[in-house]
């Protein structure tokens, strides 16, 4: 039983990590209808930029490596880089493609993926780096001792970060002008335009916010597995979360992430051995697919009736 709980908790906490990446997708899809495959590359780019600045800043500014100043300065600079990337993407890629079919935009973001990967590695090199957020990835001792359930401190921390991020976003959408405009845009582009909401500004903001989310996700994933190219693969973990939760729903991304995380771990542990294991690659997709067959609009997606 402990083992089951441990698997479940571990899965839920991984799910939070997936949700973190999925969040970036949802934001952009909601605002501009773009299925941004480059989100994974953005995560990589953000993390690499952050680590890169952390490496070079001490040299440039004569600061002590690993100090808090360097950390926050690198964070700030990486955030700025993400804003620049987001705004540039909106300006150079999306604006010329406005009104094109969704698949074209989707393809453009795959092109963007290559571009961002290339830029990231060209600027910071292909070296694999560690990232230390100062939280050790170890089981919480008393849980381990008393219940024999291993729950990683780091995973809890990540969950906390994700929760605060979601709360922050919720506040942003609920109480700021931009947030309200964004919700209007998400509902209906044309209507939003007609009441004078500047679409492009909204898109820029959203891409910047998505960039911020990517940065946070990148730092957490980077701290977990190292900052390296494989961070781009986090996108693949986020996709089934998206189909499950719906492309347009922030709560969907969170709950979808939890479901996927928990179920894939349980499946790997309890089903995997019977089929030779390694089923985590496809299991979430199959699960999401099976779910969609029952509810085609996803967990929180809006039901759509074709009017003729």
């Amino acid at each position: 039983m402990q083992f089951f709980i441990e698997v479940l908790i571990g899965g839920l906490l991984s799910g939070v990590m997936y949700a973190l990446v999925a969040l970036g997708f949802v934001l952009i899809y909601k605002a501009s209808g773009v299925f941004n495959f480059a989100q994974g590359a953005m995560v990589f780019f953000a993390a690499l930029t952050f680590v890169g600045f952390q490496e070079v800043l001490p040299g440039w500014l004569g600061l002590e490596a690993g100090s808090n100043t360097v950390f926050w300065l690198a964070f700030l600079l990486a955030f700025i880089a993400m804003i620049v990337l987001g705004v540039a993407t909106e300006r150079i890629v999306l604006r010329p493609l406005v009104n094109q079919p969704h698949i074209t935009l989707f393809m453009a973001t795959i092109g963007l993926t290559y571009l961002v990967e290339g830029v990231a590695q060209m600027v910071w090199g292909a070296n694999v780096r560690g990232l230390d957020l100062g939280i050790v990835d170890e089981p919480i001792a008393w849980l381990m001792d008393n219940y024999e359930i291993g729950v990683s401190k780091f995973d809890l921390f990540a969950a906390g970060v994700a929760a605060s991020l979601v709360a922050l976003l919720a506040l942003l959408f609920q109480y700021t002008k931009v947030g309200r405009a964004l919700r209007a845009v998400a509902d209906d582009h044309q209507a939003a335009l007609s009441i004078g909401i500047p679409l492009q500004t909204i898109w820029r903001v959203v891409w910047a916010v998505a960039g911020f989310v990517a940065l946070v996700a990148g730092m957490i994933w980077g701290a977990r597995n190292g900052v390296q190219f494989a961070l781009t693969f986090t996108a693949l973990k986020a996709l089934p979360v998206l189909i499950l939760g719906g492309f347009t729903s922030v709560p969907g991304a969170i709950i979808g992430g939890l479901i996927i995380g928990a179920s894939e771990k349980l499946a790997e542990v309890y089903v995997g051995p019977y089929v030779g294991g390694g089923i985590e690659g496809w299991f979430p997709y199959m699960l999401a697919l099976a779910f969609l067959l029952v509810r085609p609009e996803g967990l929180f997606g809006e039901k759509h009736i074709d009017r003729v």
Partner: protein, 440 residues
């Protein structure tokens, strides 16, 4: 500058059309490299070391007996189709064509396996590729040198035996095999099963789906099974994730034994402090304090001709592995020139003879400044593998420390498996094995 670019561009396009010019006293070596994509970090180190060594030979010795080495990189992105394209592109370059093909990817190795025999270009696959190709009677053109996956698995088990104080102590032990769920990872199954049967331990195979950045459930399984050792048969991001997860699960890192594709700085640094104590096999060692690396620093980096953007990585595991590739290639050229004439560029066929008669004994290694850097290597017509020995290194939190001497593999067992497999292949393909007694 502009004119030069135009000229180069023209040359490049001419190159695309398959024609190339090179003077006769240059030996061309085509390098199918990967510097982008998921494995770029390993690729940049390996190809950096390799190129630096060839540069060293050119700079310090003026080439091999006066024959300068030239090379061209071709980006494969670790992708089979592009690897094939690179193979075809490179094979006609240079005055004598590409003289050796070393794909540094098992997938590409298989993709060009038939082609190299047709084109008469030796293929050297050091520490990867098709294991049974070590039987040179069936695979005259393929050289899975130094050690194969099977030898490695066997050496790892031998290392465990050493640790336990004798092979008989392995009986009843549990050994976890955490493998990359791919053809590469599955290469470990057959030999481990054989060894388990022989030594009486239990193998618990646990697959990690590509790319391997999530291993929570695998490590929970490991924790449940409580194995004595875990062999990490990983690749790419799977390695640091595994090390971290081991730490998270509380599995002692000293008992986590990586294969040589899991035992580089690229695998430990991202794992941070968790990697301390992690042990990995290697057919080459890390470290910049070998004479050969020192020479590179002096003659190549001293003249600012080094290939590595990050000089700190000179002497890293992948870098040194590249140097080993360089040494073997250059020594084969040297050997072949002895037979076919010094100071002349060699054809692939001549190179093949060079590889087949390669003998890097201790004296030669010493001369090269590579004593202890790599195991002594003797290739014969029948045995294209060589020693099959590995050293074990341990990560001390900042660098790799060698903790064993060369550990032997279970040669009879491995060789038996190789010959069995090669014979099956020969039968399937209708190949009549060479009679090595007739080879000179």
């Amino acid at each position: 500058m502009k004119l030069k670019h135009t000229v180069l561009l023209g040359a490049a396009i001419a190159g695309l059309l398959g024609s190339a010019v090179a003077s006769a006293d240059e030996q061309f070596i085509g390098l199918p490299s990967y510097r982008v994509g998921p494995y770029a970090s390993g690729g940049s180190g390996l190809f950096g070391g390799w190129i630096d060594y060839m540069q060293l030979v050119n700079e310090r010795d003026g080439g091999v007996n006066g024959v300068k080495l030239t090379w061209e990189e071709c980006e494969t992105e670790y992708n089979n189709a592009r690897g094939v394209e690179c193979y075809e592109r490179l094979k006609k370059k240079g005055s004598t064509g590409n003289s050796v093909f070393q794909p540094v990817s098992t997938g590409i190795t298989y993709s060009v396996l038939d082609k190299v025999a047709q084109d008469k270009i030796p293929m050297v696959t050091i520490g990867y590729g098709r294991t049974d190709a070590a039987d040179g009677r069936v695979f005259p053109w393929v050289f899975p040198m130094i050690t194969t996956y099977w030898s490695q698995a066997s050496a790892i088990v031998n290392y465990m035996g050493q640790k336990e104080g004798g092979m008989d102590k392995l009986k009843g032990k549990k050994i976890g095999l955490l493998y990359h769920d791919s053809a590469y990872g599955k290469e470990s199954h057959a030999i481990m099963d054989k060894l388990a049967a022989k030594h009486g331990f239990e193998v618990i195979k646990i697959a990690v789906a590509h790319p391997g950045n999530e291993q929570q459930s695998q490590w929970l399984q490991i924790r449940q099974a409580k194995p004595d050792y875990v062999v990490l048969w990983g690749w790419g991001v799977m390695n640091p994730t595994a090390i971290k997860a081991a730490a998270k699960t509380g599995f002692p890192r000293e008992k986590l034994i990586g294969v040589w594709w899991s035992g580089a700085e690229e695998d430990t640094i991202p794992a941070g402090p968790a990697a301390k104590g992690f042990v990995a096999a290697g057919f080459n060692v890390a470290g910049a304090n070998y004479p050969v690396v020192a020479d590179i620093k002096k003659h190549v980096y001293g003249k600012n001709k080094g290939n590595m953007e990050d000089k700190a990585r000179v002497g890293s595991v992948y870098y040194n592995r590249g140097v080993v590739h360089g040494i073997i290639t250059v020594e084969a050229i040297r050997k072949a020139q002895e037979k076919y004439g010094k100071g002349k560029a060699l054809t692939g066929e001549q190179m093949r003879w060079g590889f087949e008669n390669l003998n890097l004994d201790d004296a030669r290694l010493k001369a090269l400044g590579a004593t202890g850097f790599m195991p002594p290597l003797k290739i014969t017509c029948a045995d294209h593998e060589g020693p099959g020995k590995v050293k074990f290194q341990q990560w001390d939190g900042s660098q790799w420390k060698v903790i064993t001497d060369w550990v032997e593999s279970d040669r009879p067992l491995v060789r038996g498996m190789i010959e069995e497999s090669a014979a099956a292949y020969a039968k399937e393909k209708g190949i009549k094995p060479r009679d090595c007694s007739k080879e000179s």
